[in-house]
């Protein structure tokens, strides 16, 4: 694991739009490898040019929060690969009826 060159704390790797960045867990500084700043700038430019944001959900509601399961369009690859909502219905049933 990389150490922060500024404060020495461990740095964690995050994937932002396909670009790996390292962020310090302590001072929250960001380390960019060669070319990554350009890649992020390019992505930002594309975002600015792009059409309106993606359409919201079927009844006009956005798909969900950023931390939602991967099916909701957030980043990352979860282990709930299948169509959500239909697995584990029995176990879920118990949770539906309790605090």
């Amino acid at each position: 694991m990389m150490q922060c060159p500024k404060c020495g704390a461990p740095m964690h790797t995050y994937n932002r739009s396909g670009v790996q960045i390292e962020q310090c867990g302590s001072c929250r500084g960001i380390f960019l490898d060669y070319g990554e700043l350009e890649a992020l700038t390019r992505l930002e430019a594309q975002w600015g040019q792009s059409a309106p944001p993606p359409p919201p959900g079927p009844q006009g509601y956005p798909a969900g929060p950023a931390w939602g399961a991967p099916q909701h369009g957030s980043y990352g690859h979860g282990h709930h690969g299948g169509h959500h909502g239909h697995h584990g219905r029995r176990g879920f049933g118990r949770m539906l009826f309790s605090s």
Binding site: Q23, L32, G57, G64, A66, G68, H72, G85, G91, F92
Partner: protein
């Protein structure tokens, strides 16, 4: 359902509740026996022993709210006009009509639309005049229950759940203080249920009367997003199908808008914000809190029972891991970050010198 924290063997309490429910011999059917509630049925009436630490003045107000005409058809009114009695052992008891609950074996038939309508009506009904209640309206207890779930996880045997407990703690640490019951919630004039789930809906009169909300123990003024946040959390965890979530949210939004059009809604803007085109900035923090609550209870139960997490509990812990990871990334690059900024102020993306 067995609850590891149930006092168990509470025969004297069961008998007293059966007497309260109307059987002079003290014979009734025990419907629930948990640390926070014991419910005994006699005929078409149930008697409930409230949590041992329930505060009598606040509980009296909550029961009178259920009896108030403003909430007729929304909250099931008590059977005895709102009186409470002291049970052997000191717990407070109350009596209620028996309703028909949602079939736990058929969660797919759950009345999500009715649930959305009922919560919207609860949130938009005019508050009862202060003089008609025995005391001030208490705060909604949702955050207190979340904090209690964390405390239970911390007390429970770890079993094989140490790593999951760590994940839950990290997600909890990133919540705004009010969601952890460490600060008062946002000032509110909206009455909330405080602990909505499918076990809180019954049809009354039996067997096919209209759906109504039960269990007023956590009712109070607060952020109405909390009442939508448990289904929101299940949806976000990938457990509740989008169609059912949208049915619930759509029914809520239409009912809030209908109340506003009829001029019946009070000045509170939060139900209207939740009924708007993007409720997630408002739902985000409470939905994270309820995800952590569900995960904490799952980890506590699994640890105590020496079993592994079931699929739903696993999904909540996985959601906690994503929540914990997100509270560490620069929030400028993430949608819906307003509430997160309150709990983890960060400098955003800044370069190293």
């Amino acid at each position: 359902m067995a609850d590891p924290e149930s006092p168990g063997g509470n025969r004297a309490l069961h008998r007293a509740l059966a007497v309260l429910a109307g059987d002079p011999r003290g014979v009734g059917e025990v419907l629930a026996d948990r640390s926070d509630a014991v419910v005994v049925r006699v005929g078409d009436r149930v008697a409930k022993a409230h949590a041992p630490d329930a505060e009598a003045p606040a509980l009296d107000v909550r029961i009178r709210i259920a009896a108030a005409p403003e909430y007729r058809g929304v909250l099931l009114p008590p059977a005895s006009g709102g009186a409470t009695s002291r049970l052997p052992g000191g717990r407070l008891g109350s009596t209620w009509p028996l309703g028909t609950p949602v079939d736990p074996d058929d969660a797919a038939a759950a009345p999500w639309g009715a649930a959305g309508v009922l919560l919207a009506r609860l949130h938009t009904a005019p508050l009862p005049a202060p003089g008609r209640l025995p005391g001030p309206l208490p705060p909604m207890r949702g955050p207190a229950k979340a904090a209690r779930a964390l405390a239970r996880m911390r007390r429970a045997p770890r079993g094989g759940q140490g790593a999951s407990a760590e994940v839950v703690e990290r997600a909890w640490a990133g919540l705004p203080p009010w969601c952890r019951d460490e600060e008062p919630g946002p000032a509110s004039r909206t009455l909330c249920h405080g602990d909505f789930h499918l076990g809180q809906l019954v049809r009354h009169p039996r067997p096919d009367g209209p759906w109504q909300l039960i269990d007023i123990d956590d009712v109070g003024l607060g952020d109405p997003a909390w009442d939508l946040a448990r289904p929101a959390a299940w949806f976000a965890a990938g457990l509740l199908p989008a169609a059912e979530w949208e049915c619930f949210l759509g029914a809520y939004a239409r009912t809030v808008e209908g109340a506003a059009a009829a001029g019946a809604a009070p000045g509170e803007h939060l139900p209207h914000a939740l009924a708007g085109s993007d409720p997630w900035p408002y739902l985000d923090a409470p939905a994270r809190a309820l995800t952590v609550q569900s995960a904490a209870l799952g980890v506590a139960k699994a640890g105590a029972e020496g079993r592994s997490l079931d699929e739903a509990e696993e999904a909540c812990v996985a959601a906690c891991a994503r929540i914990a990871a997100l509270s560490q990334v620069p929030n400028s690059s993430r949608p819906g970050g307003r509430r997160l900024e309150q709990c983890r102020p960060g400098p955003g993306v800044s370069g190293h010198r």
